[in-house]
């Protein structure tokens, strides 16, 4: 189950501080980001496809399914969300399969800021985190004070994790420092009165950033700004998480860790609906970052319908038969 992030060692903090000069000015940041190794699209896609052909069966599959369940940020982000709907989702997160108490809990429930208190209340001491999308989600088109207020509001309501969206317009027009500063300030807004802080996940909306080079740059930019997690997308646009984009982010996290000693998590979100897909992502994590990231502390799925498919596959593994959508709860 999610725990708090370990404080970085002195060495890591030192190495991170030594990278401070790359964020000293707009020009320095631009030179650094544009100096990162390029991404060859064909090669990246081929690698992601190869990892997708790993055959995971039997015990490995059972392990992967349970692991995937513990990594889910069970999400409802609809304009029509009601307290009742959120409570139902929380109940499902605590106890995903009423017929099988061995099913693990999910990692977090992800809701809009105004539902945080409801979710917090419904989850009680289950240990499941409440994640909240703040900063004028999903477009992120609001003034910075509004975004910060949105964040503080969610944190005050009890959110354990904040999923912020970056200003894609600023990034695409090359105003990297503006994006960097915004992330830093949101991270600051995640701080609670007692000194602890909500975990910050930075959403890129990779479908809007278009190029793989942009994805690598924004990954580094966010990690330098202090992101605890980097996340592909909001789930609200046409193209959300894809295996190549996620692989690229995993590679950026790996390189950032090698350079600074700082561990950052990854969260693909949107469009991951089947066990098969989820397993492919786990294989990517396993073969790119290794076991150290195969925990809900460092890898999450942003998904709403994935859980039911995992439950059905789990039932299939234990009974040898496929059940059907009526054998899992709708929410």
């Amino acid at each position: 189950m999610p725990t708090t992030v370990p404080a970085y060692g002195k060495e890591a903090a030192g190495r991170l501080a030594s990278m401070a000069d790359v964020t000293a000015s707009d020009g320095a940041l631009r030179r650094f980001l544009h100096g990162l190794p390029g991404v060859d699209a064909v090669g990246l896609q081929a690698r992601a496809a190869t990892l997708g052909t790993r055959s995971i069966k039997n015990t490995a599959k059972a392990y992967a399914i349970d692991l995937a369940i513990t990594m889910i940020d069970l999400t409802t982000l609809e304009g029509a969300d009601t307290p009742g709907k959120v409570r139902a989702l929380c109940a499902k997160g605590v106890n995903p399969d009423p017929t099988d108490r061995t099913v693990p809990k999910v990692a977090a429930i992800c809701v809009y800021p105004d539902m945080v208190a409801t979710a917090k209340d419904a989850l009680g001491d289950s240990g499941i985190h409440v994640a909240s999308v703040a900063t004028a989600f999903p477009a992120g088109r609001a003034a910075l004070p509004v975004k910060l207020a949105d964040t503080r509001d969610a944190v005050a309501a009890g959110a354990d994790e904040i999923d912020m969206v970056i200003d894609r317009g600023a990034f695409l027009s090359g105003r990297y420092m503006s994006v960097f500063e915004e992330i830093k300030q949101v991270k600051e807004a995640c701080r609670r009165e007692d000194g602890s802080a909500a975990h910050l996940k930075v959403i890129f909306e990779t479908g809007e950033l278009q190029t793989y080079d942009n994805v690598r740059r924004v990954s580094w930019l966010s990690m330098l700004a202090g992101a605890d997690f980097i996340k592909t997308s909001t789930g609200k646009v046409a193209v959300n998480a894809t295996p190549p984009v996620t692989l690229l982010m995993l590679e950026a996290v790996r390189d950032f860790h090698a350079a600074t000693g700082v561990q950052v998590g990854v969260k693909p979100a949107g469009g991951i609906r089947t066990t098969k897909d989820a397993v492919k992502y786990l294989v990517m994590v396993n073969e790119t970052l290794g076991e150290g990231w195969l925990t809900p502390d460092w890898f999450r799925f942003g998904a709403s319908s994935l859980l039911n498919d995992l439950l059905m596959q789990r039932q299939k593994l234990s009974t040898g038969r496929y059940s059907g959508p009526d054998y899992v709860t709708v929410d």
Binding site: G38, D40, R47, T53, R54, N286
Partner: protein, 476 residues
């Protein structure tokens, strides 16, 4: 608990291997005239798969005569008719691709992932591609009505048994030639299954003949006076012997021989993809690839960074059961080949290069060699000059593009090369300078039937694949 992938072996039940096979001559399976046989084993566990006939001089003569007889009718068929047979063969290969992939992995030791995802699709594609040419030979640029040569004697290696068969047989038949083909001694089975496919396709008798046997059979075939065209893929040593045999006769010859390809990585290369390309370049098919990127030329300024990334990646390679779908590197094809790889690797150490291999457990039986990296290699080392034909990568460095070109070309071979850089102008400049039949840019080991393949210098002459591949089988 860790994420241990459970074994996921492909079922052997899809392929039915007979205890023994004869020679395929004039549309029938027959025993060798002198009754000699030899065994073919699975290199992954040394299990005997089957017993096949060893063709002698008499059998070669019988096969060539059958091909000669069939040539009259086959070459007189309209191109569109020949195309029908080729299309039919291509479709049968697709239908039986699972069976053939498992068979190939059993007999050769290559991972099922490669035989299933690379070899078989390419095999079918080659037949489809040349089927398309059969009725368009007049438009290939070799005159209005180019004539076939006659009987083609073809000798193929063990690294891609079925793919090399396709490269040889598809253009030969499309052009109206008939064929006597000898598969390698250690991997004869898929060619014999192909003989069955020819029968299934209703191919006229004698158009394709398959003779199993060792080097002596190949020598008999190459020397047979009634063979009009010799095509050989294999070692440079044997290629030279064949060239001597054929010299002074009117036989046409194409040779596709060894290689020692340079894979050149510049400091602005897409690092993660370059690492994949290096891995694919040298560890694909256990390095049993004549165009393998066995010499890594890396720009000095990024050497450490790149080697760290490469070692990290190599540590994730999964070596083991070729039939397991999660296997990246399978078995070395034969005990002889394993011995050769071992001795060259030892030579590398003795000459002062630094050897590195990830910790990996190798199976107890069968022929295995862990993916291996040599750093500190210089042009003077044997491992930088000789073809190892195994999963052994030699790393050299360079400082400028000119130096990279000079080092890349400083080899008796010239089959392929790879360039990794984000700068398109440099790619194009280098591609023009490199003396290699194929230059890949930001990729490696990519094949397509439409793209000609062949070498410079000791890597041979003639081209296979594409429009160019027709030339070798036409009287032009």
């Amino acid at each position: 608990m860790t994420f241990e992938y459970a074994p996921a072996p492909e079922s052997r039940a899809v392929v039915d291997i007979a205890p023994s096979y004869g020679l395929f001559i004039d549309g029938e399976f027959t025993e060798a005239a002198d009754g000699k046989v030899f065994k073919t084993v699975s290199p992954a566990n040394e299990e005997v798969l089957s017993e096949v006939a060893q063709a002698g001089a008499q059998d070669v003569d019988r096969a060539v005569r059958a091909a000669r007889k069939a040539f009259e009718k086959w070459s007189a068929l309209p191109g569109a008719e020949r195309a029908k047979y080729l299309f039919r063969i291509a479709r049968i290969i697709q239908e039986r691709s699972r069976e053939l992939a498992v068979l190939e992995s059993l007999d050769n030791g290559k991972p099922i992932r490669e035989s299933r995802d690379s070899d078989l699709p390419l095999v079918a594609a080659h037949f489809f591609y040349y089927a398309g040419w059969a009725d368009k030979l007049g438009h290939a640029g070799y005159g209005a009505n180019p004539r076939p040569l006659g009987v083609a004697g073809q000798v193929i290696p063990w690294n891609f048994p079925l793919l090399m068969l396709a490269w040889k047989i598809a253009p030969a038949l499309a052009c109206g030639n008939t064929v006597v083909l000898k598969p390698a001694e250690t991997t004869p089975l898929s060619a014999l299954f192909f003989a069955d496919i020819c029968r299934q396709a209703g191919l006229p008798k004698g158009v394709v003949n398959i003779l199993t046997g060792d080097g002596t059979t190949g020598a008999e075939l190459v020397a047979h006076p009634d063979v009009n065209k010799v095509a050989f893929t294999g070692s440079t040593e044997v290629g030279k012997a064949i060239a001597r045999t054929v010299a002074g006769t009117d036989k046409k010859l194409t040779l596709e021989l060894g290689g020692k390809a340079a894979n050149i990585v510049f400091d602005d290369a897409p690092v993660d993809q370059a690492v994949e390309g290096i891995v694919n370049g040298i560890f694909f098919n256990q390095g049993h690839v004549c165009c393998a990127g066995s010499r890594l030329l890396v720009q000095e300024s990024v050497q450490d960074e790149l080697l760290d990334a490469l070692k990290r990646r190599m540590a994730t390679l999964r070596v083991g059961d070729p039939l397991d779908k999660n296997t990246d590197i399978g078995a070395i094809n034969s005990a002889e080949q394993l011995a050769r790889i071992k001795s060259l690797a030892e030579a590398g150490e003795q000459e002062g290069a630094e050897r590195w291999a990830p910790a990996c457990e190798l199976p107890d039986s069968g022929y295995w060699f862990a993916p291996t990296l040599f750093t500190g290699v210089t042009q003077a080392h044997r491992i930088a000059r000789e073809e190892i034909f195994g999963p052994v990568l030699s790393v050299l460095t360079f400082r400028t593009p000119e130096e990279a070109v000079e080092k890349a070309n400083n080899t008796p071979y010239g089959l392929s090369a790879g360039i990794w850089t984000e700068k398109g102008s440099r790619s194009l400049w280098m591609a023009g300078k490199l003396r290699a039949g194929i230059v890949w840019s930001n990729t490696f080991n990519k094949f397509d039937p439409a793209s000609p393949f062949g070498g410079y210098k000791e890597s041979g002459f003639g081209r296979e694949g594409g429009r160019h591949g027709l030339e070798a089988y036409l009287d032009v």
